[in-house]
Amino acid sequence: MPEVVIPIGPQHPALKEPVNFRIIADGEKIVRLELELSYTHRGIEKAAEQRNFIRVLPLLERVCGICSHSHATVFAKGIEEIMQLEVPPRAQYIRTIIAELERMHSHLLWLGVAAHEIGFNTLFMWTWRDREAVQDTLEEMSGNRVHYNMNEIGGVRCDLNPAQVNAALSRVPVLEERIKKYVDMVNDEETLLLRFRGVGRMSKEEALKYGAVGPTARASGVDYDVRRDDPYLAYAEVPWDVVTDTEGDVYGRTRVRIGELRESVQIVRYCLENIPAGPIRVDAPKNAPKGEILSRYEAPRGELAHYIRTNGTDKVERVDIRTPTLANWTSVAMCLVNQNIADIPVIVAAIDPCLSCTSRLTVTNRENRPGVAVVRAARRGSSLPGSEDEEKL
């Protein structure tokens, strides 16, 4: 079968967001891949430079719908550090609760979408039904199901009254029991194992070399988690541990994400039980002093980094957003080589791409030998045929 170029275009049922793959396949095997993203590039960084600290937070929250709290918290945390603000502990605990609830609903969402990619719709329906419990908790706490708008420079916008805390605490055991059900469903469901095990495998060295972050890297054994290495919010006081795995394939990533789900439930339970009393906000000055900070945060998909530089006015001079999915694209392009066409949605879903975050683009030409190909292709990528003719979709 001659080489066939298959454009899996921006509009494709497998991809919940617009990304364009031009797969060069030989029969069912993928030989080369050209990836083109940033259909959702909106120019947020340019706009962030014209908005003061109160108006920039809603904009930064809408970089991505699923990890909206992450972007707002990492920015607020950075600015507070530049201003040397002392955020009250109650605000830190509320931010941690919302962060972990967001991680739970993001991982449940991912588990459903990954099952949907292989046509297993029952798990898709069940995981999303249990996600509704998390969504209800978030809606009670912050008033909105997706963009919570909880953050403000110097603390949190609204407080948690005991009724909300009890309602959330009552849902925790239900979630724990459901997660246990998913663990043994993923472990012994035959077709799931057939489609997940051994697909898109990445060794620890490759994970480190291609700069994979988050659950994708931890599934290959890279013990790297910003919440523990560079503790922020209330993670230093909460007893939890990093979940890693040695499988390295889609199955390993599934297990890591379910493990993280269990950890998040414990963190939320601990934070809810001993949330300190006290004020939830300290009023921040209008202008931030001159300074710069690399603020890092463990988003559900990996390590999120905002490089913020302020110049003494009430607007930020530059915010450079590096989202976790952008770091994972090299590793996904490497994993895809030599796999079947039928596995593309599964492998791409395995890194849980959040394309609205990734308003960046990468074209990674890989020869069919993944190991060396990266370096060699990197040197003479431009001479490869087919990458010039950016013909329209």
């Binding site: 291609y210 700069g211 450079d320 308003s359 990674t364 990197a378």
Partner: protein, 181 residues
């Protein structure tokens, strides 16, 4: 320095004692990187090294071999008027962020690429080239990627002095009926 682990360029194991007081500490890093330029500690776990574009490549080489840094967090870019500022943030199992800072003149913003030793850098360099116009020599695939196909050449949106020109056409839809395929 014999105790310094001279591990392979990639995939060094987690260092014994992963806390900051492991064998790789801030002053070891400062002392090691002195040859590349002025080093100072800007933050509890961040070291800033001001270097020259020419030395970036082997600075990162030293970081990878001698100091066990195996991950590039990101490349940040700033436009401060007459110069562009590039910051390479690198980290390893020792949990200390080392930032290499270089300044490029606005008239001739070119710097050697690091994507051959740090593969993920290829992504960040392409993005910076698209939005700032900084040219990375040796990057294999430095062509337009972020902005859409018919975005005019040599228009770099994230520069401070860039304003969207009223008459230039930036792509999107011309309302002619394109034929359905």
């Amino acid at each position: 320095m014999a105790a310094e682990k001279a591990s392979a360029a990639y995939g060094c194991e987690g260092l014994p004692g992963d806390t900051m007081t492991g064998p790789v500490t801030i002053d070891i890093i400062k002392e090691r990187m002195k040859e590349f330029g002025l080093t100072e500690q800007v933050h509890a776990n961040r070291v800033l090294v001001k270097t020259v574009p020419g030395k970036v490549h082997d600075a990162i080489g030293t970081l990878q071999t001698m100091l066990g840094c195996n991950r590039l967090i990101t490349i940040s870019t700033l436009d401060n008027g007459e110069t562009f500022e590039l910051l390479y943030h690198v980290i390893g199992p020792h949990r200390i962020i080392i930032t290499l800072e270089i300044d490029l003149p606005r008239s001739q913003p070119t710097t050697p690429t690091v994507s051959d030793i740090l593969p993920p850098a290829g992504i960040y360099e392409r993005q910076i080239h698209d939005l700032f116009g900084i040219i990375f020599e040796g990057n294999p695939n430095l062509k337009k990627i972020i902005l859409n196909e018919d975005w005019p050449e040599h228009e770099y949106p994230l520069r401070k002095d860039w304003k969207p020109g009223p008459d230039t056409f930036y792509g999107g839809i011309k309302v002619e009926r394109s034929e359905g395929n």
